[in-house]
Symmetry: C2
Subunit: 249 residues, 2 copies
């Protein structure tokens, strides 16, 4: 009845080339909560990026004159600014030291999602996975080879318009559609639903954050009891609002 | 270990004056899952509004000339448009038939959060609670009188910038702060956190939606196992980004 959400503790520090899926299967089993069919496994993008070697040494980056000038004005590291710009396809807002960009994937977030806090060493940053749906699919396929049919969500921590505080949202998905549509259904009073579609992937990612925390280094959580329809064509694309429909870009 | 999230089934149709908190306590007990200390109880705003008689008969509304003209252009009900405008303190975006407003509380959402789908009768709409923090506090105090020390979140289903699909978020809170701050803490590598503050209230509201659904009419969910610090001064205000800090308003 209902949902259970628990973290997967005991994962080692992730290094490039790590077999993340196998590590998760083993850590969950060791913790006494082995993965099971129909679980939704939410994996923090940071460890995916590390396993995929999306680490960049800042010393090797030659910033553009724009990155140098802007960084000097706002006391930023010009190499980081350069990477933020390289990872973006557009600057959505630029005000003071804040850069809100649209990443090459189509995510709108601060600093192209580049993480300076937890790269394992100073002078290095972590970029988002190149293709976070592919990352999710790879993990899901590896789970399947271990005998577990689980959906996978890659999550990151993003800010929002209008509201303070960040939340974890989905940036990649495999096995289930990210949006649950009510279109055409009617409520108990015979009205069509005002709510047309819920982004359950983002709700699942946020729910997972509640047990992962950001301090305790539990970068994977399992959600058990969520009803989902198996769909191996699923990607995060339906969540990315097309610019033509977007009033805030 | 971890979180449990379950719906509270069996609530009757809520009518004005209903003692919502007592109904929730009784329904949870009847379902075999009585409320317990330290639970977080997430209540859909719609039933709060109904209990507080925030229902409006459209027949009694005289729309302004602007509401009449705009509604004619976009095939909207002018009485609903009038209410949307009355409930707002500003129009944030207006494009085609879409009205994104800032409500008098400070929430940015479509149509001032007015719900046309589930008012219990055609020709009636449901407005947001007048003071959703007060609504949460009232429910929390009533739980306390029933012997249960639970935090309360009032949730609604809002759209977002940039991303398709709506999610449930918090519009009122009692007993716990809505934002968990990491400011000043350092990660395992000695860096200060890039993530400064997480809006756990929104993550809890979204997690609750996963078991409430919008079709099955389970408007209340209980989250058990979440660690929260008791704070009876808490309100949703820290989540509302001040306009001076907002790049999208």
């Amino acid at each position: 009845m209902g949902l259970q959400i628990f973290g997967v503790p005991g994962l080692p520090e992730i290094v490039p080339g790590a077999d993340l899926a196998t590590m998760i299967v083993e850590a969950a089993a060791t913790a006494g909560t082995p993965l099971a069919n129909d679980d939704v496994v939410v994996v923090t993008s940071k460890i995916v990026s590390k396993a995929e070697n999306r680490l960049v040494e800042l010393a090797g980056i030659v910033p553009s004159p724009f990155a140098v000038a802007w960084s000097a004005e706002w006391e930023k590291d010009p190499a980081v600014t350069e990477l933020v710009l390289r990872e973006s396809k557009r600057i959505v807002r630029q005000l003071g030291p804040v850069l809100i960009t649209e990443t090459r994937h189509g995510f709108v977030c601060a600093n192209s999602g580049i993480d300076q806090s937890s790269s394992g060493a100073h002078g290095r940053v972590v970029l988002l996975p190149i293709d976070s749906d592919r990352s999710a699919r790879t993990i899901r396929e590896s789970f399947a080879r271990a005998g577990v049919d689980a959906a996978v969500i890659i999550s990151d921590t993003f800010g929002r318009a209008w509201r303070e505080g960040q939340t974890d949202i989905a940036i990649g998905i495999a096995g289930m559609q990210p949006i649950h549509s009510y279109i055409g259904q009617v409520d108990p009073h015979g009205h069509e639903f005002r709510v047309q579609a819920l982004c359950t992937a983002d709700e699942l990612a946020g729910a997972a954050e509640l047990v992962k925390g950001n301090v305790s280094r539990v970068p994977v959580a399992v959600i058990r009891g969520h009803q989902w329809t198996h769909d191996d064509t699923a990607t995060i694309a339906p969540v990315l609002r097309d610019q033509s429909r977007d009033l805030f870009r």
